[in-house]
Symmetry: none
Subunit: 204 residues, 4 copies
Amino acid sequence: MDRRLTRRGEERKRQLMAFAAQRFADNGYHPTSVAEIVEGLGVGKGVFYWYFDSKEALFLAILDDAQRDLRRRQGDAIREAGDPLERIEAGLRASMRWTAEHPEMLRLFQLAASEAGFAVELHRGEQVAVDEAAAQIAEAMEAGLIAQSDPVLIAQAMIGVMHRLVARRLLDDAGIDAGVAFCLHGVLGAAGTSAPPRHISATG
Amino acid sequence: MDRRLTRRGEERKRQLMAFAAQRFADNGYHPTSVAEIVEGLGVGKGVFYWYFDSKEALFLAILDDAQRDLRRRQGDAIREAGDPLERIEAGLRASMRWTAEHPEMLRLFQLAASEAGFAVELHRGEQVAVDEAAAQIAEAMEAGLIAQSDPVLIAQAMIGVMHRLVARRLLDDAGIDAGVAFCLHGVLGAAGTSAPPRHISATG
Amino acid sequence: MDRRLTRRGEERKRQLMAFAAQRFADNGYHPTSVAEIVEGLGVGKGVFYWYFDSKEALFLAILDDAQRDLRRRQGDAIREAGDPLERIEAGLRASMRWTAEHPEMLRLFQLAASEAGFAVELHRGEQVAVDEAAAQIAEAMEAGLIAQSDPVLIAQAMIGVMHRLVARRLLDDAGIDAGVAFCLHGVLGAAGTSAPPRHISATG
Amino acid sequence: MDRRLTRRGEERKRQLMAFAAQRFADNGYHPTSVAEIVEGLGVGKGVFYWYFDSKEALFLAILDDAQRDLRRRQGDAIREAGDPLERIEAGLRASMRWTAEHPEMLRLFQLAASEAGFAVELHRGEQVAVDEAAAQIAEAMEAGLIAQSDPVLIAQAMIGVMHRLVARRLLDDAGIDAGVAFCLHGVLGAAGTSAPPRHISATG
DNA sequence: AATGAATGAGCTTTCATTCAT
DNA sequence: CATGAATGAAAGCTCATTCAT
């Protein structure tokens, strides 16, 4: 589906993606039919297949767009920050803001995670962001700024916090601050303290 | 569908639920057909509709069972612990263990979250666990053991960490320890310190 | 699609194949829709897919049945005949009778030949009959009963005569005799004559 | 669709017909879409409908062209030959050569025969050639050159041989000779012999 | 003449559910 | 309790044809 599109065509394609993204987010992937999408835009069914090979391809296109956009935001934020810890916070905060601003995209990420066929694409896109975050965390560990741990696990934990808070609609400005604080303290671990907090014990 | 079931009937019902749970977890709710489920067990379609009103009812039954089991585990753990912070850790650790042991059930939670029709039921079941955790956190705050914050948000953040780590298959024993550590530090916040970590700043 | 069928099921399947064969023969493969078939039998659309994986599978099933039947008829006839030439005539005559009795099946053979996807199956089925005929012809050549030539080509030529005469509805009893005569003279070639007919010359 | 075409227009039309003929021959009539044809030539859909009223009209135009060409070849050959038998052989040989040179056109004849909508046109075009051949055969019969039989049936039998041999790709130069020999012997029948070959018997 | 966009009826196929036995 | 058979709405998708530019 490598079609040469006119300006009008580009516009239509964007329309389809935007409208479909909202429907997918609201109702899920399977319950949203192609018929519903084209009817919502008041166009014929053929229009859909003029722009996309399949419903699946449409979903992947939306997913790809969203992930690209998020990564751009995260990357911009990190680039402007100073030391590793600041970069971690900046990246985290930027990700939270983007996610809070695009809750419907987070829904799509969740949908993609629930669909065997989409999980691969989702993970591929996520991997870049996770790697980036993990790299900053590893750097901070080497610099002795934070406690030693598995950087990837820490990065995933932060993403987990973020996704959950958005999903539960807790990420207003105060929520972002609280979420960032939770994550940063989690990241810091017992760094700089002489002893770990007494409550944290290892599994037998 | 409140049928008086014989012992054999109970067994059949359990079989259906177990088999279906695995299929749902592997392939998703919509892609898993009733035909597939009954064929997998080598029985006719009538059997299915003898035990369940619909495919939806089956899913909800599985969901309900799983949530009930998780809550029991969490409750047991909390009951045996001492002060609020210990209860938080105990509940968290128990939840992580259960979830790590039942990754397919976490998949069902995710599926339910992706389906408008199931979200209500999912949230109802979750609410109990969240409330319980939030109560412990609030108590710890009042006791000055941890920094002031929104208890519900903190509870959700911990759930977010847990779900993410399980979904990414990071929750082996070491992973549980690391996850618990991340969460507890996040919960502790700046408690007992005179100043917040310099990197944690508020949103403009 | 290996379904255990009850007697009633077998009957339905036969019904579907018979009705569809007629429609295919009358209107062609593509112009005949599944909807048309099931409506013609007054059953729901699901019935079709209970018995066949697809429209294509149905066509192939019909084709296979027909070819099997034709081969049986041809084989029976050959087995009862005496010398090679008699076997050739017997096989040819039996094939012509079968084809004249089942003109709709010849139509299906033609349809199959016109569809890339079916040609393979068609040829596979034909190959057996062609080989059988060619073997008899070769034997007759070795015995000096007929002129030397390519046995496969001769066999195909006879099939060509038969198909054409059926397609043009020329195969009543007299037509069968005339067709058989044409083929046998063609087969005999100049056998037993001292010189080839003067009109038959080789290509420059 | 009787458009006044410029030289360039004529060229385009020929291009369309040639390309489409190949596609039809390769994939069949229905499986070949108009979109496929115009994309193959790198032009827009408008071009197609500028030159042809419909996909059906295009097919018929190709068919008509082909039949006209074949008849011309056959007619030329017959005109140059001497007595009836020679004319029969010449026409037959010319037809075989043309068909062997244009196997894709034979495929189109087969496709047309499989489509109720095209069969009429196909037959109309064929009729001329069949009549011509039958006339020569009848003349030869009257002259006592060949055995008495139904001239039309004989003509059709020869066409059947030809089509089959081309379809099975057996018509190289040697194949043409063998095919012609088969047909001529078939045509000659028992002419000039005092008794019919013993193997040729009438139907009970 | 020619293009990209659009139409919409109709196609094959799926599947939750019901029914007769 | 259980089966194989049947239902039919609805899904994703195709494609000959038309339209606006």
